[in-house]
Symmetry: C2
Subunit: 278 residues, 2 copies
């Protein structure tokens, strides 16, 4: 199944099942996060019979972040094997984790508004997002895999100057409404990591990796993180980014007002966002 969060003209949002060019609302679920909080979410989604909308009748602004306000966004640094090795580093023994608050998330086609004081070193990080579908703590590998509702696309937009002001990256990773997530969640039975992940800026491909080139797989990450705290439905794990970010280029390259950012994972879909500095 493919799930989306749709914005309606009346200011409400709804969880919807996307199939055969039609989005069908799941009655009573305000968004995909709310849907996943119901242990019967698979059954509810499979029997969705709410308002139907042709996909091609939806404007970009009708697509919300698939999880608009996750309780937790756990991000992973340094996880793409080829990128680590090409930089001459050793493969890490433990995942590098940092946090985003839910306020960082924005929609898959929304403009990304950057405040002027943070607009100097805006960079991209295409990532495979893992979305949690059930409460899980101290998961063994099988329980960890079973707790994954599915996968989505995320761009961990990073203000490198803020990220590197101190030894902790958090402040460069948490600017409000700058992390697009979506356009859909593909359930775990229909997506296996492996397909290509790419980031294009104004039509030029900047990152191109394979979503199975991970040191720590999605299930590894769920197991590791759940030994620290409970993961809950709608929580998101951003699994790291392949090589090709702007900050590591010579010369460094950053996003500027008007740039178009397209973040794609084959088999899931693409985020299309325009950078707006203000």
């Amino acid at each position: 199944m493919r799930l989306a969060t749709l914005r309606h003209g009346d200011g409400t949002t709804s969880a919807a099942v996307v199939a055969d060019g039609i989005a069908t609302d799941v009655v009573g679920a305000a968004d995909v996060g709310a849907l996943l909080a119901d242990p019967e979410w698979r059954t509810r989604a499979a029997s969705a019979d709410g308002q139907q909308t042709a996909i091609d009748g939806l404007a970009p602004e009708n697509w919300g972040a698939v999880i608009p306000r996750p309780g937790k966004v756990v991000c992973v640094g340094l996880n793409y094997r080829e990128h680590i090795l090409e930089m001459g580093r050793e493969l890490p023994a433990h995942p590098t984790l940092f946090a985003k608050f839910g306020t960082a998330i924005t929609g898959p086609y929304d403009d990304i508004a950057i405040p002027a004081h943070a607009a100097d070193q805006v960079d991209w990080e295409a990532e495979l997002a893992v979305v949690i579908g059930e409460r899980v703590r101290d998961a063994d590998p099988a329980a960890a895999a079973a707790a994954i509702a599915g996968y989505s696309v995320l761009n961990d937009i990073s203000m490198r100057d803020f990220q590197n002001r101190t030894v902790q990256w958090m402040q460069g990773k948490n600017f409000e409404a700058t992390t697009p997530l979506g356009p859909v969640l593909v359930t775990a039975d229909e997506f296996e990591p492996g397909p290509s992940i790419r980031c294009d800026v104004n039509g030029e491909t900047m990152q191109d990796g394979a979503t199975d080139d991970l040191v720590f797989t999605p299930a590894d990450l769920v197991a590791y993180i759940s030994a620290i705290f409970t993961l809950e439905p709608g929580d998101v794990i951003a699994t790291g980014t392949p090589g090709g970010v702007g900050h590591a280029r010579t010369p460094a390259r950053y996003l500027a007002d008007g740039d178009e950012l397209v973040t794609t994972i084959d088999g899931i879909g693409a985020l299309r966002n325009r950078i707006r500095t203000r």
Copy 2:
């Protein structure tokens, strides 16, 4: 005013006003976080007329974390001036920020249960907690000060082995239900940073600082953070810890099963927690 979150025998919690040895529930507010979400919280608290309980009739387990599940806990590293200078470092130009998720919080008198795999380097960090009382974004100094509902006591219990596994501290700072917060929130009109902050382990004083020895004041932090994202009612800022943590001692000293931890800020109160490894 002094506000608390009380646990009742029936499994519910309530926000309560604590004065003259009596805790008076605020009708309709499930905890202090929920109370602060109402823009009229000051008026509601001032006119509290719910269930009354003598403080000395309350068991330790009746006291909940003053904000049981903050939307955000923004933590500050390296903020006590004397401690930074005695370590031979320069005063920082920007605050070092990292994140806790709300799942890390626990009550002021609760046992702190540490999983066996994380019990080797458990350390203390007594901190002044700032609690946000209104939505604030891009705050100037006056707006930042006005957004502070009040102050509480927090201990940023840190698993140093996890903290130092990678360059990002988050995983050592986020073990579930290991960060006590409370016992009360003292509103900003009744508390000015300055009084002593202490941490005692089994009766031995380990940290002893002054809550106004901060490089970045509470209002500075609100202004700085709100230039990154919106702070919302019930969000918590942990303002950093003075010298004397166990990891920096020679030899290093860590918390063990059965240790009693008392974290005090004069004018607010004391957290009393026992360490339990399991």
